[in-house]
Subunit: 204 residues, 2 copies
Amino acid sequence: MPRRYTLGKRAEQHAATRARIVAATLDVYRRDGFGAASTTAVAAAADVAPATVRNHFPTQADLAAAAAQAVLVDSGMPDESMFAGMDVVGARVAQLAAEIARFFERSASWWAIIQRDRALAAAWSGLEARYYDDLGRLAATALAPDGRDADPATVATVVNIVGGALYFALRGTGLSSDDAVELECSLLLPWLERGQSGSIRPIV
Amino acid sequence: MPRRYTLGKRAEQHAATRARIVAATLDVYRRDGFGAASTTAVAAAADVAPATVRNHFPTQADLAAAAAQAVLVDSGMPDESMFAGMDVVGARVAQLAAEIARFFERSASWWAIIQRDRALAAAWSGLEARYYDDLGRLAATALAPDGRDADPATVATVVNIVGGALYFALRGTGLSSDDAVELECSLLLPWLERGQSGSIRPIV
């Protein structure tokens, strides 16, 4: 079926060009900042014509969204499969903290770039929102092995403690990744355990 | 001493005009956003001449800094005096959580505006940095009644838990201000207590 083969090859070339443009965009963001990633600059970095960039990504927003998606996929944002075979809440939350920490380490350079490049942060605000959505869903799943609805305040607490701000602050004080995760767990696990034998929010 | 009196009156008028311009600037930020706060718009809102605005605040950055300072002062960012007479770490940290929560409630409308107005957030990034500096200093003071240096990872943890992100997330799930503070304390106080009878970061 030569015709099908040809179409497949075209689609492959199309995908390869798209990937090259996305990789070049990330290079420009990293090297010169979001503001420098004009169609011309991206085309030059990807070694394609500006029209090719516009053909794949009609607007700067399309390009920024594709670049954000590539960062999430490359960094391997964890999913629910990490809880497979685990039915103890504390173990699931510890697993979440450890897996998210590994994700942070893989994507650390990008978090640092977003911190200092406000224009990129603005262009990627949708990415951040999706990250927090995903994390909220993972935390709710970790807290409710039986599929029931987890307490929203408990979900918010887990998201806040494993979500990145504390992790990077602790890494900044010199803690190793493992020690940062251990500290997060030392806050959360006894708190969750106390909560489970009565109110979810124990009075101290 | 008529001359001195006259100078005093002029200084008073100068300060009153300055305060009116700052208040008008905050009105424009709140109503139309940072982007709308041109010298002309601020002058109109303050009912002064544009040259008067420029005389008090040569640049937009000067105006933004003065507006930020006014928000912090009006909202009453707490200081070390809140710990007077308290020498138990847990009580001091609970006091910090409660006082910062009151500060958040007083300044809540501004945090909401910063969230949705990225240009204002950028102009006020210095304010945010100073808030975190102040909070870090307060947390370190809360943790070390004896004036010794507090463990940086413990300071970072206290800052993260009482610092705003968790508080507003909990308020967003429907918790009252008091319940949000109680939840923060239920995380921190037992953790600190365990830490004090050995390693500051207990292994769970």
